[in-house]
């Protein structure tokens, strides 16, 4: 039997080193798709829980999670379902809206077309055209859930096609970096805002509304059933926060995303011998250690908001350091560096 190497190295000379521009676009493609999925989850769950509790107030948490208070209230007086959904799905002037993000996905997909699989491109081509065309008629209250389900499924289809067809080289690793950095960022935002909104106070503790609100937080992270399985009786805010931050088996937990970021950077440094990974690896490791060493009670006691804020800042620094290392501003790159 002939021996066939299954490893991508050594590879064809033309394919070995990923263009910086491709690396950047790959990362952002993954980030935007992850962001669209999270946005769809958030809107769907907010829609459902708001209807259940018969309040309009829940909608402003969507704005706070995305830190868009300033831009939103410049445009709208109050946060109602209509204004928030319009702002986050169809408003072309809001860079965080689904239509704007779909446009960014499309731009990056076009840049990456030489690199990504035909199946990936075909799906993104059709998906982004559809998503960019979403208008007021598509977001009425009665279709909102269906729309969000479709958006989520489109993103999941994309992730599935990518997993099944994208060649495993540096591009794949930058894709994973983007996806997991975005996930990490999103989960901390969700915890940060929801914890304060839903913190039990006075008579509400343990009541049905309180529990259903927390259930909805878990659902928006697709964590409800996993949580039930691991902690069938532990529906307390602290346990829920702990699960979302530290559970190593849950695919969207902060610890899982950071573990993946760490291992991907390790592959770039090891298998592809890319320099500059060292300091970034250290920063990620630092983040993982502080997360592992603290109990969730400690974290809450010292200030959950401050901790989430710190993590988000660290994630931004990691993103910036990756950019500086792999797609540096033109003047800083000198012939002959690298391997």
């Amino acid at each position: 039997m002939t021996q066939v190497s299954v490893f991508p190295t050594p590879v064809l000379p033309g394919l070995r080193n990923l263009l910086s521009r491709y690396a950047e676009s790959t990362m952002w493609l993954a980030r935007y798709m992850e962001r669209i999925e999270n946005m769809a989850r958030l809107i769907e769950v907010t829609g459902t829980s708001v209807h259940a509790s018969n309040m309009d107030a829940g909608w402003d948490s969507v704005i706070r999670i995305n830190a868009d208070e300033e831009t939103f209230f410049l445009r709208h007086k109050v946060a109602t379902e209509r204004t928030v959904v319009g702002f986050y799905i169809t408003d072309p002037d809001n860079p965080d809206s689904i239509v704007s993000m779909a446009r960014c996905v499309r731009e990056n997909a076009r840049v990456l077309r030489p690199l990504i699989s035909t199946e990936m491109w075909m799906h993104l081509n059709v998906f982004t055209r559809w998503a960019m065309d979403l208008g007021p008629d598509d977001v009425g209250a009665s279709y909102l859930s269906t729309l969000c389900t479709r958006l989520k499924q489109e993103c999941q289809t994309h992730f599935g096609i990518t997993e099944g067809t994208l060649y495993r080289d540096q591009a794949w690793l930058f894709y994973l970096l983007g996806k997991n950095l975005e996930r990490a960022d999103q989960i901390t935002r969700l915890i940060d805002i929801k914890y304060h909104t839903l913190l039990p106070c006075g008579e509400g503790v343990g009541s049905d509304i309180d529990l259903s609100q927390w259930t909805s937080v878990l659902r928006s992270a697709a964590a409800y059933h996993a949580f039930r399985r691991v902690l069938p009786e532990g529906m307390t805010p602290a346990y829920i926060v702990g699960f979302l931050l530290k559970n190593d088996g849950f695919p969207r937990s902060l610890s899982t995303s950071l573990r993946c970021v760490y291992s991907v950077l390790g592959s770039l440094a090891g298998e592809y011998r890319l320099r500059h990974c060292g300091p970034i690896l250290e920063r990620v490791e630092e983040l993982r250690v502080t997360l592992a060493e603290q109990t969730v009670e400690d974290i809450i006691l010292r200030g959950l908001h401050e901790y989430m804020d710190w993590i988000q800042r660290e994630l931004r620094l990691i993103q910036n350091e990756i950019a500086g290392a792999f797609w540096p501003p033109v003047a800083l790159q000198v012939a002959g560096n690298g391997q």
């Binding site: 080193n17 263009l19 592809y272």
Partner: protein, 488 residues
Amino acid sequence: MSDMKMAAQAAGLFATYDVPDFFCELLNRKDIPPAGLQQVRDRLACFDLAELRRRAAAVEAQFYRLGITFTVYSDREAIDRVLPFDVIPRVLTAPEWDHVERGVQQRVRAINLFLHDIYHERRILRDGVIPAQLVLGNANYCQAMVGLDVPGGVYVHINGTDLVRDRDGRFLVLEDNARTPSGVSYVLEDRQMMLRLMPDLASGLDLRPVDEYGPRLHRALAEVAPAGVDDPQVVLLSPGIYNAAYFEHVFLAREMGIPLVEGRDLTVEDGRVYMRTVAGLRPVHSIYRRLNDDFLDPEVFNPDSLLGVPGLVDAYRRGNVTLANAIGTGVADDKAVYAYMPRIIRYYLDEEPILTNVETHICAEPEGLAYTLANLEHLVVKPVGESGGYGLLIGPHATQAELEDFRGRLRADPANYISQPVISLSVSPTLCPAGVEARHVDLRPFAVTGRETWVLPGGLSRVALRKGSLVVNSSQGGGAKDTWVLAS
């Protein structure tokens, strides 16, 4: 099969097909068609119109998903327009293709010798075969190329020759495309689409394959890399995602397995070209550039260009990188120089042209201008600088006012125009809203030159989808057909 049965079948899909007296490769050839071609004709005739439309709809849906698109310059908003594709293939016989292939190879050889000469000894000008002013005063003549030796003497690595067939089926050269000819991606994509969606039409036929194009082109580009480089890095330089032909750039980069770069991905240090990768700068040896000369290097050409690479021409002149096609090849495919191409072929090769030109009147010459002005209503007049069918006058289709207006333009700037008689372009059966009808077609074979010249079997057949229209350009309502070359 009996004549009766054949007639019955021909009455199927082609029952209402009417070919006034144009040449039609499938149904009005004026010779006895070879067996393979007859087979295609019979199979097609058995198709039910509704079934053909279903296939066409499936093709269109698939192209939409694939996003195989073409930007239309006159319609800035329509960035992604799908190039219309006709499901009825255009079929060339083996002897027809042999003739075209040899003709194209001959023409490419002559063009490369011509370019070397005009950038070196200029023998052809001294011998008075072609007016020196026409060459040296040409906007596309590039001073930076004077005296520069390019690897293998190859200037035009990728050439597209636009051919038409006249009433008798004779192939005529309409123009040469020696700068950055486009359209080859459609040839490869269309073939794949045809084999997938019309398998019953192609089954068992001995067709010349087209999928060698990528490897052939890559090999040619590696062959012309600077001497002494063992494992040359070839890249494709594109203006980027908003360019009309971006899809094609992507396609070719993928077919060759090479990076698609933009100007900002490249940098020149000490006369050498590098690309920016995640591992730092990596050397580049051979560049298939899909950027016009003017935009290549802001230090030499258009200083406002952000698409190019500062210092690229210097690296090129030092022999550290190969550009394909070379700079300054536009002088060879100029519509005024075109008129001299038969003489250029005879001069360098001492051979008769295998493919003949369309009769051409050069308005820069007094007799050419006088003839053109006097016969305007019978002529096609083309501006020599433009591409893509813009600024063209088709005399027989023009109103009196349009003719008068054009006479004024001709008198004002005669050197800008050539004129040709209207050719009764050949037609090909095409699926139209009212059924299968005759539409005019042309043919652009693609020639790839490294150490030798290879011609992709077939090429791009463009079809003028509007009834009676002679303009096949995709920017003017043209579509494409798959071109089948029969191997025997």
